[in-house]
């Protein structure tokens, strides 16, 4: 990876993390949506610098759509059931998770080795789902989508009849 790609990666990572922090701390749904759009641009930049151009395009569209959804007029506030003490404990857990993952990334010894994980390994499953049985996977995805749409329509019809 040359210096230009590396600088692009670090800038994109900083932009995405800064956008995430702005989503956490900014007030107002339009500002938070803007922060999430910044995250989308940053993540797309990360993918692009990792030579994943198509994934960058998909990430830009999907995370940008998430930003539009969270900033749009369909947004409704929902109050939680958990108390503030549980939320603070959860936030501390999130910080501990980040420290743990960062420590694992720093302390791990990455070796170049060829290891066949067996027929039930993640690589074999990925090859089976995305290469050998790609059409079947797409068919199952379409079936789940139709079932979800049907369930939503049935739910709305039942709500209207009440």
């Amino acid at each position: 990876m040359d210096s230009l790609h590396a600088i692009g990666f670090y800038v994109s990572a900083a932009v995405s993390v800064a956008g995430g922090l702005s989503v956490a701390f900014l007030a107002g749904r339009s500002r938070r949506g803007l922060g999430l759009a910044v995250v989308a641009i940053g993540v797309a930049g990360i993918y692009l610098s990792l030579s994943a151009g198509f994934a960058a395009l998909v990430a830009l569209v999907c995370y940008g759509s998430c930003a539009l959804l969270l900033a749009g007029s369909a947004y409704r506030a929902v109050e939680p059931l958990a108390g503030s003490r549980w939320r603070q404990a959860g936030a501390l857990g999130a910080a501990a998770l980040m420290v743990l993952i960062a420590y694992a990334a720093y302390g791990a010894d990455f070796a170049s080795a060829k290891y066949f994980g067996g027929w039930f390994g993640s690589a074999a499953l990925g090859r089976s789902l995305f290469a050998h049985d790609a059409l079947a996977t797409e068919a199952v995805a379409a079936l789940i989508l139709v079932a979800l749409v049907g369930g939503t329509v049935a739910w709305r019809a039942r709500e209207r009849s009440r």
Binding site: M1, S3, A6, I7, F9, Y10, A13, S16, V17, G20, L21, V23, A24, R29, R32, L36, V43, I46, Y47, S49, L50, A52, F54, A55, V58, A59, C62, Y63, S65, C66, L69, L70, A74, Y75, R76, A77, V78, E79, P80, S84, R87, G90, A91, G93, A94, A95, L97, M98, I101, A102, A105, Y106, A108, F110, S112, A123, G126, R127, T152, E159
Partner: protein, 101 residues
């Protein structure tokens, strides 16, 4: 022409994992810290983006020694982006049903 002794900026798998960990951590922080549940939904795309970054990084750096294209990680990163959009759309839709207008 590069100056002699200039610092060469490089990215390795560890740097990618650090960025991924930061994204997952910030996403988990948003999901747990915010009082409002719909606002907490914004943490899901960040966590998925972190996981996708790790997958894309492994794919990028695993492809180099083999000499071939290793597209599985990129596929999973794209899939995670779509899954994040679906989860947020479902959450916003459900919040629209139960939340105050």
């Amino acid at each position: 022409m590069a100056r002699k002794g200039a610092l060469q900026v490089s990215v390795g798998l560890v740097s990618v994992f650090f960025a991924a960990a930061a994204l997952v951590g910030v996403g988990a922080f948003i999901a747990t810290w915010r009082r409002e549940l719909t606002h907490a939904l914004a943490g899901i795309p960040l966590m998925f983006a972190g996981a996708g970054t790790a997958f894309a990084g492994v794919s990028r750096f695993a492809a180099a020694p083999a000499g071939g294209s290793q597209l599985l990680g990129q596929e999973v990163a794209a899939l995670l982006s779509v899954a994040a959009l679906a989860a947020v759309a479902l959450g916003v839709g459900l919040a629209g049903r139960v939340g105050p207008r």
